[in-house]
């Protein structure tokens, strides 16, 4: 005979203001199988948990239902309490009467009625629950960091400093990411390279860190604590172990017209090249699209001049497979394409540039050696107009609906640096709102206005066009209710940022969820901001949402703390709610194995006794409980109904449906 206890939580006024909690608890007293029912202000509190523990012991409860908030919040809390009182934790069911009821209803009568149904449903299920025991799986003490920008670098360094092995997989030929392209950084204006490159060097020299540059993630299998990852090391046509970074090949290479992507295409580079002076690894790479030897078979000059014999035109992509306990995704961002914003004339005018291009034009290692010259004719621009929110906060379908967050600050930085270095330059900034929350941020922006005399115009630009060699920037000045046209020499567009597109493939491989803007989704927006809902996968930097360097570094370190917390464990408890096949019903059709996203299902040949001493060998499904995530895809796919999920059996779910439908 089942002895069920029901506990209805008020959640302060969160539930109690809309649901008559006392009445719900009272009604439950007369439900079949229920021997105890109570309500309390905060079930999750120490006292609330005590109430549950006491009731379990005093009334010999065999199962409990807690009517409270989402199981995502406190299921673990109540399971622990039950376990402490001697009840199997899987004999606990949560009826979500907050998110699914009190928060979305206004009428108390209706909400109470619904709460009663929800609790009854949970009672129906708990009656069919069976005690389950969590298994254990070992933890591989090595972490993978995908992306070698500042987020990945920081996460890797922190994890490695705690004594764990870390691999950084970077798709470009060098680590450093976007931060390596920046000139100065706000709000302190220190040189980006000066603060980044020591960290890059630390990574290279750290005995626990292995940098796999020019490499991509090919496949991911496994689960938290035990991921198996295939990494493609792309052919760079240069032997990493031999190249000394002397750059003689770059001097001699006859194919010099490739666009220098590190400089945002503002100048050219040879087919064989090292992306920038402080690249890590300081090893050349050949662009196969541009290399004469690789395209035509003729040339081979770099090989002739290489003093150490590092050039290898025959090099092929290679694959390595490694095991990891945890994965940090730090794939970063790119500025959006401006093809939907022709009104700003980016495609038609060389002197309409993006902010990231301006970073390179201002950088001492950039195409102009840090002298601000306009791309069209190499002249000093005398009037520079900045346009903010190009493609940000755009719900028309042309741009991105979100605020890119960093543009207000970097535009203030650019404006200030230009006025500092070239005081005879006139600088205008069109803005919709200036958003500068952050320590010393608004002070920084105000300095641009008050100390450096940057002209901030509240309004938006409608058109940029070329007239008599000048860029005419026509926009509104909303404060003065005017339409203005500013004759400019250079126009700088603060293009919205978006997640690096390769993140989509990585998210799919990791079964990590992604939002409509391709940002990876965190497990909880406030309380689990660095964890993906996929266990063992952590998020750092722009791949999770727009953020600046300080925030990125904080998030990366937070990721590292989470990873370290995972890797110090020898074993992890596994979820016992896994799929199990009824071998007598399984017909070996493989459909379950085909839908399993985790590769948890294999097929085995098994001998069955038929009676009369006869046996038969049949092919049946077998689930690896350590790999199964309990998603249930196989249970609904199985045509013969052989597959079931422990803790969520078809019988249990049908009993819930019946409880809901019953009047």
């Amino acid at each position: 005979m089942q002895r069920i206890g029901v506990f209805i939580c008020w959640c302060g006024s969160n539930i109690a203001a809309t649901v008559d909690v006392e009445r719900v608890a009272e009604i439950m007293k007369s439900e079949p199988g229920v021997v105890y029912s109570a309500n309390y202000q905060y079930m999750c509190s120490e006292n609330g948990q005590q109430l549950i523990k006491q009731a379990i012991k005093e009334h010999n409860l065999t199962g409990i239902v807690v009517g409270a908030c989402s199981p995502r919040m406190h299921e673990a809390t109540f399971r622990k309490a039950a376990e402490a009182a001697g009840l199997n934790p899987y004999m606990v069911e949560i009826a979500n009467i907050r998110e699914h009821c009190s928060w979305i209803h206004k009428d108390m009568e209706e909400a109470t009625e619904k709460a009663v149904v929800l609790v009854r449903t949970a009672i129906a299920k708990v009656k069919l629950n069976a005690p389950l025991t969590a298994g254990e799986s070992p933890v591989v003490k090595r972490a993978l960091v995908i992306g070698g920008g500042i987020a990945g670098i920081q996460a890797a360094l922190d994890i490695a400093d705690a004594g764990f092995e870390v691999d950084i997989v970077e798709k470009n030929a060098t680590i450093g990411g976007r931060m390596a392209q920046l000139d100065k950084t706000f709000p302190t204006l220190d040189c980006s390279a000066c603060i980044l490159t020591p960290k890059m060097v630390d990574c290279a020299q750290h005995e626990k860190i292995d940098i796999l540059s020019y490499s991509e993630i090919e496949d991911v299998k496994g689960f938290v604590g035990n991921f198996s990852v295939t990494i493609r090391k792309k052919a760079r046509y240069v032997d990493e172990t031999k190249c000394t970074g002397c750059k003689i090949c770059m001097e001699k290479c006859p194919s010099k017209k490739g666009l220098n992507t590190f400089n945002m295409g503002l100048n050219t580079r040879p087919a064989i090249h090292i992306p920038f002076a402080q690249a890590i690894p300081n090893v050349a790479v050949i662009d196969p699209e541009q290399c004469i030897k690789l395209k035509t078979g003729k040339c081979g000059i770099c090989q002739k001049f290489c003093g150490v014999g590092a050039i290898d035109y025959e090099q092929k992509d290679t694959f390595i497979e490694r095991q990891y306990g945890a994965i940090v995704v730090a794939t970063g961002f790119k500025p959006i394409s401006l093809e939907s914003f022709n009104e700003y004339g980016y495609d038609d005018n060389k002197d309409v540039i993006t902010s990231l291009e301006l970073e390179r034009l201002m950088n001492a290692a950039g195409p102009t050696n840090g002298v601000l010259l306009r791309p069209s004719d190499g002249e000093h621009p005398k009037v520079i107009t900045f346009i903010q929110c190009v493609g940000s906060r755009d719900t028309s379908g042309c741009g991105k609906p979100y605020c890119s967050k960093v543009c207000c600050m970097y535009t203030a930085k650019h404006a200030m640096l230009i006025r500092e270095k070239y005081p005879d330059t006139e600088v205008h900034v069109f803005y919709i709102d200036v958003r500068t929350p952050g320590k010393n941020y608004d002070e920084f922006f105000r300095r641009a206005v008050e100390q450096y005399g940057v002209d901030y115009i509240k309004g938006m630009v409608g058109k940029v066009y070329n007239e008599n060699g000048k860029l005419m920037v026509q926009g509104s000045n909303l404060i003065d209710n005017e339409q203005v046209t500013i004759e400019s020499d250079l126009v700088v567009l603060a293009a919205a940022i978006e997640p690096e597109p390769s993140v989509r493939k990585i998210a799919t491989l990791l079964t990590a969820s992604i939002d409509t803007n391709n940002f990876l989704t965190e497990s909880h927006a406030k309380l689990r901001p660095v964890e993906s809902p996929t266990a063992g996968v952590y998020l750092a930097g722009m791949c999770q949402g727009p953020k600046d360097i300080p925030e990125t570094v904080s998030q990366a370190s937070a990721c590292a703390a989470k990873v370290i917390g995972l890797l110090v464990k020898d074993k992890l408890k596994t979820n016992p709610c896994v799929a199990t096949p009824d071998e007598m019903m399984c017909n070996g059709c493989s459909q379950c194995a085909n839908v399993c996203a985790y590769g948890a299902i294999t097929y085995i040949d098994k001998e069955f006794r038929l009676g009369g001493g006869k046996t038969e060998v049949r092919r049946v499904a077998s689930v690896n409980p350590a790999v199964c995530q309990g998603c249930g895809a196989c249970t609904v796919t199985c045509p013969s109904g052989a597959m079931d999920l422990k803790g969520f059996s078809s019988k249990q779910i049908m009993s819930e449906v019946e409880a809901i439908c019953k009047k």
Partner: protein, 259 residues
Amino acid sequence: MKISYYPGCTLKTKAKDLDVTARLCAKALGVEMEEIENWQCCGAVYPMATDEIATKLSAVRALDHAKHNGGKLLTLCSACHNVIKRTNEDMKTNDDIRFRANNYLQLDEPYGGEAEVLHYLEMLKTVVGFDNIKKAVVNPVKRKIGAYYGCLLLRPSGVMAFDNPENPTIIEDFIRAIGGTPVIYPFRNECCGAYVSLKNSDLPKQKSKKVLMSAKEKGAEEIITACPLCLYNLQVNGEGTLPVKYFTELLAEALGVQV
């Protein structure tokens, strides 16, 4: 091939040149423009108010005719094209307008945006093909020509789907096909202001001058357009800054079609 053709009020009177040259050129290129029977004036301006139904009916009648006669409706005047294309979109996507318009018209079968509205330039591009026009040219127009799109062909781009609203190329491609050199200038997609001529004569003057000066500065020797109203405005208010012609006049010249 035959295509149902909607000429519109102005092409029968002040813009006869546009109509006549277009028909002759189409014929030379193997397309017969079949003027639809009993067409009524489209109203020359698209009524945006969501409760305007009666003002859209003449466009719907023409569209319904095309639906039953080949499925395509060829337009030439930019204003007609704008009105008919936008009305067609309403009939396709706006349940309320479609219901009420059909209520008025009581057609044998309700009209629901089935016809395809095709501007003459789109016809040249997709039905004839600019490459075929190039082959048919006997007298290449070896001049620097500025395309003037104005507002009606391009906007709202979501509905008109004519070309990139900020950086259109179709008329430039046409100019190349007839042997000319297209001149890109920033005001080719700006409104010439002609619509308010009766209320405000100053604005059309300023705007048309701006358009022509912009084209001239970039090296254009003449301007072509598909809109009779733009042509009028640019000619009258442009004070001879540059010659302004219908694009079909240049097509006729290039094809050696005698008008």
